[in-house]
Amino acid sequence: MKEKSFASKLWSLFRNNTVPFMFIVICAICIPISGFSLNYLLAEIITRIARNSFLILSLLIPIMAGMGLNFGMTLGAMAGEIGLILVSDWQIWGIPGMILAMIISIPISVLLGVICGKIMNLARGREMITGYIMNYFINGIYQLIVLYAMGAIIPIVHSSIILPRGYGIRNTVSLLSMRQSLDNLLAIRFGGIKIPVMTFVVVALLCLFIVWFRKTKLGQDMRAVGQDMEVARAAGIDVERTRIISIVMSTVLAGFGMIIYLQNMGNLSTYTAHSQIGMFCIAALLVGGASVDRASIGNVFLGVTLFHLMFIVAPSAGTVLMGDSMIGEYFRVFVSYAVITFALIMYETKKRRTNSLAGRELALAQKEADK
């Protein structure tokens, strides 16, 4: 068994990483067609890695706890946005503003995370669809707060943020005075390419935290719960609590991630900024070769690079090929959804195959025992 030929090794590498390979092929075809310079692409990719990695890393912990892709990460994003709205009303800018926004987002994220975790514990086996619907549900409550309560109940004074009618937040909140304040801290320019060192330091710290966390008692508990809930319970682990903690951590991290994401963008679309973020982060993670039950830090960075490379080149490649930029736009949306669909199908079929295999082995063992 050990003496595998090089070809079969390559084949199994390909089979286990179909999605990343598909994306490498798509990018390899699209890059020359799109006609972008290498320098431009490199600069864009570095910006996008800095912007998105933190958000995507927040997905890793629930996967570890066996709760699948956390479609409820949007809840954290909303908490982060509420923090940013309040901070910009108080006119606290730059790094202090970001830190304060993060501090404000924590209690909101924790509350939403606990609610989400409790509901997911009730809907066991349907965590993903429940998290996905939770998005819509909490989005309704977010709108209730931001559109009606802010200014009426929660004091908002600044006229650039509040709607002229006296309550509710404007469609866009400008974060101009906060724009790229983290990215520009200690930034290095390298042949026209800006490298946001401080952002990468923060992302690296989170990576270190996740690596360390896996080794702690709680991290080990989560992995045990992810492997087999009943066995974990028999071993004396409080399964429900562990699962809730994993969702809370993911939600809080997603809140921080959203603040980092928005400081790079420089403005906040109050009602739409969070609506697609979960989908894009999950698609990026899956493009990096992760699956519903297994994801590593490497998957995050490979995924964010490949996915955003496709995102940059697809519209212009579409324009060159089809003479219509909309084709490329739709193509990249289609690919994002198709990747998620594909990954979900792969996961479910694999789960069924292992289940039936285990059943067959059990039957065989019983037959042996009967003899």
């Binding site: 309704g140 409550i141 009606y148 199908i345 069924r352």
Partner: protein, 358 residues
């Protein structure tokens, strides 16, 4: 809900409590809210009959879409979040009917005719896929719906449609985002036998069409195949022991749901008056799902009554809240209320323990 189960000694009160329990608390709240809206309507200056007609109209547009949930719930495939797939089959049928030049009342039936093969093909593929992934249907259905909608976005631009009523004027190709059905099947069913009394207008044709389909499904569920379908949904192991081919039964239910989705969108369009393409089918699954849940269905049990009650309550709230709320507190909170109520209902249903574990 302990107070609902306590006995009081009074048979009538007990009966009411038993009714409330079987009806479900969230449903009761929503029904009460709608009743309150209807009572409030005259006080805020909205005509009761106009409101009722609006609700009935919207009911008639959406009822078939909600009905399309029933077969899949019965066979244990869960809530059909993949409804956009059926809608796409319907959209293909509708656009093809216009392309071949069918007009007026007949174009509706031509559209249904054209939509059917697409629904059968897409439904079989979809059903085949869902059989491979038993247990994870709902999440995958959602994303199958999304991917197919975004794939069709490209197709609407690329497919060789030529009818000047549908393509972009300046380019001469690529379908428009919204296509008017004036002269085609706009009101094909609604105008048939329509009753107008003062402010009250009842789209009898559409309601009859829905009643026909609903009766068809009811009758089907009472045939041998239909009973087998229910058996597969409520207890797969029992069904297998009884010699029912589970995969085939599920496949049939998915095809049926997809076809009903295709017909449902055509019924919706004939009432609404426009075909909406591109990203429009994207968010059509959630309202239909929450409507049937509001009507009392669970993840693995649904009846025609659930469809009727649910659609009426859901569409009633959609039509009534804007008018009543706006004139009462001068704030348009209806959209937010609808989002919270409908998605809250889905979460409620997902957290209920299903009666059988797979």
């Amino acid at each position: 809900m302990s107070e609902l189960t306590r006995s009081s000694g009074n048979p009538i009160v007990d009966k009411i409590r038993a009714f409330a329990r079987s009806f479900g608390l969230p449903r009761l709240i929503i029904a009460g809210f709608l009743l309150l809206l209807f009572i409030m309507a005259p006080f805020v200056g909205a005509n009761f009959f106009t409101q009722l007609s609006n609700t009935l109209n919207r009911f008639s547009w959406n009822a078939v879409l909600v009905l399309s949930m029933v077969p899949m719930i019965h066979s244990g495939c869960g809530l059909n979040f993949g409804l956009p797939l059926g809608i796409i089959a319907g959209l293909l049928g509708g656009t093809l009917a216009i392309e071949v030049g069918a007009t007026g009342f007949a174009s509706f039936w031509v559209a249904v005719l054209f939509a059917t093969p697409f629904a059968l093909i897409l439904g079989s593929l979809y059903g085949f896929l869902l059989n491979k992934i038993k247990g994870g249907e709902m999440m995958i259905a959602t994303y199958v719906g999304f991917s197919s909608v975004s794939l069709m976005c490209m197709m609407w631009l690329l497919l060789p449609y030529h009818s000047p009523n549908m393509v972009w004027g300046y380019a001469g190709k690529g379908l428009r985002t919204t296509i008017s059905l004036e002269g085609y099947y706009n009101g094909a069913l609604a105008n048939f036998l329509q009753i107008n009394i003062g402010h009250l207008s009842i789209p009898v044709g559409t309601l009859l069409f829905f009643a026909l389909l609903a009766f068809g499904i009811w009758a089907f569920l009472h045939t041998k195949t239909g009973t087998a379908m229910t058996a597969v949904g409520s207890n797969p192991n029992f069904a297998r022991a009884a010699g029912i081919n589970i995969d085939k039964t599920r496949l049939l239910s998915v095809i049926l749901s997809t076809w009903l989705g295709a017909v449902g969108i055509l019924v919706y369009e004939q009432g609404f008056g426009f075909i909406q393409l591109y990203m429009a089918p994207f968010n059509m699954a959630l309202p239909a799902v929450s409507a049937i849940l509001i009507g009392g269905a669970t993840v693995n049990k649904a009846t025609i009554t659930n469809v009727i009650i649910g659609t009426f309550l859901f569409q009633g709230i959609v039509t009534m809240t804007p008018t009543v709320m706006n004139s009462m507190i001068h704030m348009d909170m209806s959209e937010v209320i609808r989002v919270i109520a409908s998605n809250g209902m889905i979460i409620y249903a997902l957290t209920r323990k299903s009666e059988v574990s797979r």
